[in-house]
């Protein structure tokens, strides 16, 4: 007997299941008034160090928690715990990005009375951009030693973020990194980006970034009220 072939029209979003889990996480966090921030960058551009600085600056007035995404080891979570903040490590054992279902697995451990939840993604400027984690804000970081030609090379990370942070700005006098040019290029890709220039070493820009975060938390809670 001849087998009959037929076509089935599906039109289903392949990442639909990730988006669904992410939406449910976002709703739970926003209902609790928690501002969640997903940080994307290459390895070594200073995500953990920036979080240490922001954490120290915010922790006297706010409850801050950090989810650390890494391929292996608990090192980053330990650094965050050292400054007195709760941290939850997700090790992906090879996967190059965090997915919403990985967060869903540890979600019950997140205290409901947090103000800020930072999610440090796996160091990678490519893959994490495709996965919504249920954050309210996405930060893309680029450090001065990485070079000022990156936004157009990694457009998805810049298109999907709301904030662009140039880190290690204390190195600007020593390296051929044109901060004006990189800012203009990032804004060309995504005109809505808020841009900050920071140095964990000198403290440049940390206050401004924290004030921005406090403003965003306020906005979230005003929306809820």
């Amino acid at each position: 007997m001849e087998k009959s072939k037929k076509e089935v029209l599906v039109l289903e979003d392949i990442l639909g299941s990730n988006k669904k889990i992410a939406s449910s996480i976002r709703k739970k966090l926003e209902d609790k008034g928690i501002l969640a921030v997903n940080l994307l960058s290459s390895p070594g551009s200073g995500k953990t160090t920036l979080l240490e600085r922001i954490g120290l600056r915010l922790k006297d007035h706010f409850k801050v928690g950090v989810i650390e995404g890494d391929i292996e080891t608990e090192r980053d979570a330990e650094r965050i715990r050292k400054i007195g903040l709760p941290a939850w490590q997700i090790t992906t054992h090879g996967a190059c990005h965090l997915e919403a279902k990985m967060l869903a697995r540890i979600f019950d451990q997140i205290p409901a009375d947090l103000d800020f939840l930072f999610i440090e993604n796996v160091g990678n400027l490519v893959c994490p951009a495709s996965f919504d984690l249920g954050e309210s804000l996405r930060f893309v970081l680029l450090s001065v030693p990485e070079g000022d030609d990156k936004p157009r090379k990694y457009p998805e990370a810049f298109i999907t973020s709301q904030v662009f942070v140039i880190t290690k700005s204390d190195l600007l006098p020593y390296l051929p990194f044109d901060a004006e040019r990189v800012t203009a290029e990032a804004l060309e890709i995504n005109p809505k980006l808020e841009v900050f220039r920071t140095s964990a070493l000198t403290g440049e820009g940390i206050d401004a970034l924290c004030q921005y975060l406090e403003k965003k938390l306020q906005e979230l809670r005003t929306q809820n009220a």
């Binding site: 087998k3 009959s4 072939k5 037929k6 076509e7 089935v8 029209l9 599906v10 039109l11 289903e12 979003d13 392949i14 990442l15 639909g16 299941s17 990730n18 996967a95 190059c96 990005h97 997915e99 490519v126 893959c127 951009a129 495709s130 996965f131 457009p155 998805e156 298109i159 999907t160 804004l187 060309e188 890709i189 005109p191």
Partner: protein
Amino acid sequence: MHELSVVADLFTIIEEQARQAGATRVTRVRVLIGELSGVVPELFRTAFHSYKKGTIADKARLEVKITRVKFKCHGCGQEIKTGDISSPDFSYACPFCGSKEVELISGRDLYLEKLEIET
């Protein structure tokens, strides 16, 4: 290299759709990959053909259609279908009015468009 994760999610949908349609085998899979989806078509193909072994789609052909990036200009309201985003001449500004206030409206999507099945 997150293509394998994407392919794993794709196969969850394929198997569910095949079950609903009463398929004994899936012979063709057609996907739409947005130019700015972050997925590399070549790596996606490799991941697909290694993942399919032992599944209902283990002999399936894969067809990939790349969907181009599309922007909407907030300056003049026109829709902009762009050229090749990796070209050095590529511009994110509106070619009609020069406005830089453009917003991406498609090109990030990953869709399973259709399946060919045997019943």
